[in-house]
Structure formats: structure tokens, C-alpha cells
């Protein structure tokens, strides 16, 4: 199966993660935050890759769960003290999973372009809900004054208010999500969803209730996206309705395509590529007058990657891999 990282991929990932781990040691605060955003968006994009790259469900409303995860942190956190990390995390994951099952139950019934439209519609509904709900700050967004922490009496084990703690917590979370998804995809369940991507009728013909399998895949992806939202909310302690908008869904999709769909680790390459290029294109010292209109350069960059690399940036690594038949 494609999901087992080959030696080349494993080496590359190790090097990239090592670079990430060393950022807080050398880089200044701005770069630490940039790297942190790249890691968190990579988790978000990786969950979308489970849908697009493995299940064949092109969701255009995945940010609904990302934003919801972030908003739940705001809603459950008390204003005068930090909430227990375990409680906060369980609530976030649980509630996004519930939301994903409800939205998934409706949208997974549809196929192709209708699926895109239904997921987009649900995400926009959620966007306008939080946009117009004063209880969650409305269009201004809202603050999380005390970020979740894990404390035993006076002993603080994990405090996500601390920049470095959050950074390494997120880095660890990325590795955990990656390994979890590899196990999911290597399981019989994972084989079935990959079969559904290729030929859903055939999977039904083999006796699988494909609706159920697609729904479970949708819920897993939604929950992990909610987890990424949870981490994102802890960066600045600020959430805004924009997190649920179609723009965020689009960015996640661009990252998946940029990195290479159906690879999982491609999400990391896509996220790093996207954030890195954005920084370069926005720097007037490098791009001069175009820096203000960096989106144009980003567009050209994405088009070039799609045109000249067979499966996004991941192709740069996997093209040196041996074929499966010779591998084992």
C-alpha cells in the first residue's frame, strides 16, 4: 500500500521534523509562530487528504470542522482560569465528531460535484452562524483568555499558554496524527475506503455498505480537523468566523494538491511550501513591487507545481522510490 512511508520518505520526513524541532532554538518569535502555523495547517490538510486522496470525497467545507474545533475551545474555556487540557481536548474532539457525523450523514449520500456543493453549503451555514451569534463574539471574533493546561495541584505539566510548549505539543501531535492515519489506512477499513475511491460499485458488489465506510472516514477526517482547530485557537488565543469560511477550506485543498494527494506526508510538504512561498512572495526585498500582490505569484507557483510535477511536491521524493513489486 502507498501509505507505508518508503525509506526516502521516512528520511525526508525525519529531516523536516528535525528542522522544525530546531526552529525554536534558533529562529526568532516570528518564525516560530510561522512554523507553528505550518505544522497545524499540515494536520488540517492531512485530515483532508484522507477524504480527497484516499476516500475520493472532495470536500470543500472541511474548514467547518477546523473552525468549529477552534470555537469550542473558546466556548468551553472559563474566562478566569484555564481549563484542564484533557477535558478541553475531549470536548473539542467529541463535539466535532458529532458535528461531522451529522453533516456527513447528509453530504456523504451525494457524489461528485454535489458533494462539493453540499459540504460547502454546510460550512457556509456554520460560518454565518458564528458570524451572527453574539454569544461567540459575532463577526469580531472572540478571545480565549486562558489556554488549556494540564495541572496537578501546583504542578504544571503542560501549559499551552507557553509558546514553546504549544510548539512541541503540536509537533508531537503531527507525528501522532500521521502514525494514526497510517494505521487507519493499513487496516481492513483503510483498504475498503481506498477501494471506494477507485470503484464504489465494485465495493458494493463485494458486499460492503459503502455509505457507512465513507461516513466513518468523513468523521475521522472531521475530528482530526477539529483537533487542528483546537491547536490553532491556542496560537493567539483568538478565534474568528473566517476560520470556518470557504477560503480556509480552499487553502487546505491547495495544500493537499500542492503536496500531493493520497500521500499523507504530502500535506506537510504542501503546508510548508505554501507558508514558505507566501513569506518569500510577500517580502518586498525579494519580489519588489509585486510583493503587495503576492497572490499572483502564489497562483503561478501552484500552477507550475501542478503542471510539472506528477503528484505535487511529494513527487520530488517518491520518484526515487522503487516499485512495490521489487520492494518487498
Amino acid at each position: 500500500m502507498v501509505t507505508v512511508p518508503s525509506r526516502n520518505v521516512a528520511i525526508c520526513l525525519f529531516v523536516i521534523l528535525l528542522c522544525f524541532a530546531s526552529v525554536p532554538l534558533f529562529g526568532d518569535k516570528y518564525f516560530v509562530k510561522l512554523a507553528l502555523r505550518a505544522i497545524i495547517f499540515s494536520i488540517f490538510a492531512m485530515s483532508l487528504d484522507l477524504l480527497i486522496g484516499y476516500t475520493g470525497l472532495v470536500s470543500f467545507g472541511h474548514a467547518a470542522f477546523f473552525g468549529l474545533g477552534a470555537y469550542i475551545v473558546h466556548l468551553v474555556s472559563p474566562v478566569d482560569e484555564s481549563l484542564n487540557l484533557f477535558i478541553c481536548l475531549s470536548l473539542t474532539l467529541g463535539l466535532t465528531a458529532v458535528a461531522a457525523s451529522i453533516i456527513g450523514a447528509f453530504s456523504v449520500r451525494t457524489k461528485g460535484v454535489y458533494f462539493i456543493m453540499v459540504t460547502l453549503a454546510f460550512a457556509q451555514m456554520m460560518f454565518y452562524f458564528f458570524f451572527n451569534w453574539p454569544g461567540a463574539g459575532g463577526s469580531d471574533g472572540a478571545f480565549i483568555f486562558f489556554k488549556p493546561a494540564l495541572k496537578f495541584g501546583d504542578l504544571t505539566v503542560i501549559d499551552l499558554d507557553d509558546g514553546h510548549t504549544l510548539y512541541f505539543f503540536s509537533l508531537f501531535a503531527w507525528v501522532a496524527c500521521y502514525i494514526l492515519l497510517i494505521f487507519v489506512l493499513r487496516s481492513p477499513f483503510g483498504q475498503v475506503i481506498q477501494g471506494i475511491k477507485i470503484n464504489e460499485h465494485r465495493m458494493q458488489g463485494l458486499g460492503y455498505d459503502t455509505y457507512l465506510y465513507k461516513l466513518v472516514s468523513f468523521v475521522i477526517a472531521g475530528t482530526i480537523a477539529g483537533f487542528a482547530g483546537f491547536l490553532f485557537a491556542c496560537i493567539d488565543g483568538f478565534v474568528s468566523p473566517g476560520l470556518l469560511g470557504w477560503r480556509e477550506s480552499g487553502i487546505a485543498m491547495v495544500m493537499v494538491i500542492l503536496g500531493g494527494q493520497g500521500t499523507l506526508f504530502g500535506a506537510l510538504l504542501g503546508s510548508v511550501g505554501f507558508h514558505g512561498m507566501e513569506e518569500i512572495f510577500r517580502e518586498p526585498a525579494i519580489t519588489g513591487v509585486i510583493a503587495e500582490h503576492w497572490q499572483i505569484l502564489m497562483g503561478i507557483f501552484v500552477i507550475c507545481v501542478v503542471l510539472f510535477l506528477k503528484n505535487g511536491l511529494s513527487a520530488l521524493i517518491t520518484r526515487f522510490d522503487s516499485k512495490a513489486g521489487e520492494d518487498v
Partner: protein, 240 residues
Amino acid sequence: MVETDIPILSLKNIHCYIGPSHILRDVTFSVRPGQCLSLMGRNGMGKTTILRTIMGHIRPTKGIVHINGVNSALMKTHIIALSGIAFVPETRSIFPNLSVIENLTMAARTGVDGRSDWTLERIFNIFPKLEERQNFWGDELSGGEQQMLTISRGLMTNPSLLLLDEVTEGLAPLVREDIWRVILEIKNSGIASIIVDKHVKRLLEIADQHVILVRGEIVFHGDGKTLVECPELMKQHLGV
């Protein structure tokens, strides 16, 4: 056994439309456990449509399909498959993103009556080629190997009825003989089957009853002996 009296599958006065075209007209036949039925006829006569109707991919406009004596009109495709029917499509539809062994194991389950005769070892026994290639991707196989894999995938579900759609089509003669050998072996192991194919000679050897379709209508339904006695029928509809 009592069950032998109930056909695994019976089609009664089936009419089917695809868009405005009337594809199947009043098709009626049944298959009992262990029986082998051949579906013959020229291209476009509705043979594949019958198989797809059985699987529930197409719903009949009129008529009833019974599976193990139960009306299948309300069964979804996967329920029909779980009732012990395996479909080996002409298009093969191997999963290219899974290895040979994964293509097989994902289909594996015990049959409706708890049988699990068809294991990986038995598959590799009848198709040694697949064992050699077990770690290849699905799309790295030759046409014949893909066909072996599709048949094996169907067998891994331990079906009581196997639908084979033109499985020997476009294969080299030697590979084709290999497939026929396996089809005979499947029949001898007691699995009922419906075979769509163009090789009348082989079908006459294997199948217990034959159905010839012309424009969605059954023009002949009987055993091999009766069919051989009507050479003009075979010449006209099968080109033999």
C-alpha cells in the same frame, strides 16, 4: 437438503429500461444450488444488463428478482452481495492502489452458510501466478493475471453464486484455457454460476442450462443436448 428446492436466484418476467431503451423483455429463468447457466447471444443483447440487474445496479421496471426465495427489490447492492452472490465484471476493475494480496484479503469473508472453503492458499493453489505476484500493484498485472485476480476476488467472498461476465474475452489462448480449467473446478466445488461468454463449445461442456438472448428476449432456454439439436438457432444467433 431442503434448501436445494429453493433456487438461489430466480428472475420472473423481468423488464428493464436504460433511459428510453427497452433492454430486457420478459426475462425469466432460475438457478439452483450448484447449477451452471450460460448466457449467450451477440453483443448488445442484454447479457451484462441481466447480471447488473441481479446485482441491483440496475432496477427492473417490471418483474421480480428472488434471491434465496426473497424479493431483492428493496435490497441494496451490498446486501445482495452479502447474500452470497459474487460478480466478476468484464471491466475487471482491479483496485490499482492496492497490492494483489490486498485486493484478495479485502474481499475475504465467510459465505452465507458459514463456509470458508476459499482461502488465500487455495487461490494461490489454482492460480500460482498470483502467488508470484502477490506484492505487485493491481495495475502492474497482465490482462490474464488481472482476470485471475478478479475471479479470485469473487471466490474470496465464498459465494454460493458466481456471475462471470466475459472473463475469457481478449485473453491469449493458453491463458484462456487456464481460466476455463478454473471455471470447471469452481463448478465441481459446488458453486452455482452464470457464465456470459462467446465460446459456445466450452459452454456446452460446462453449463447445465443455456439461455440465448436476442434483443433482450430469451429465444432459447434448455439444456445442451436440445441446443445441439437446433443447429440453425446456433448459426443464426451465435454464429457457430
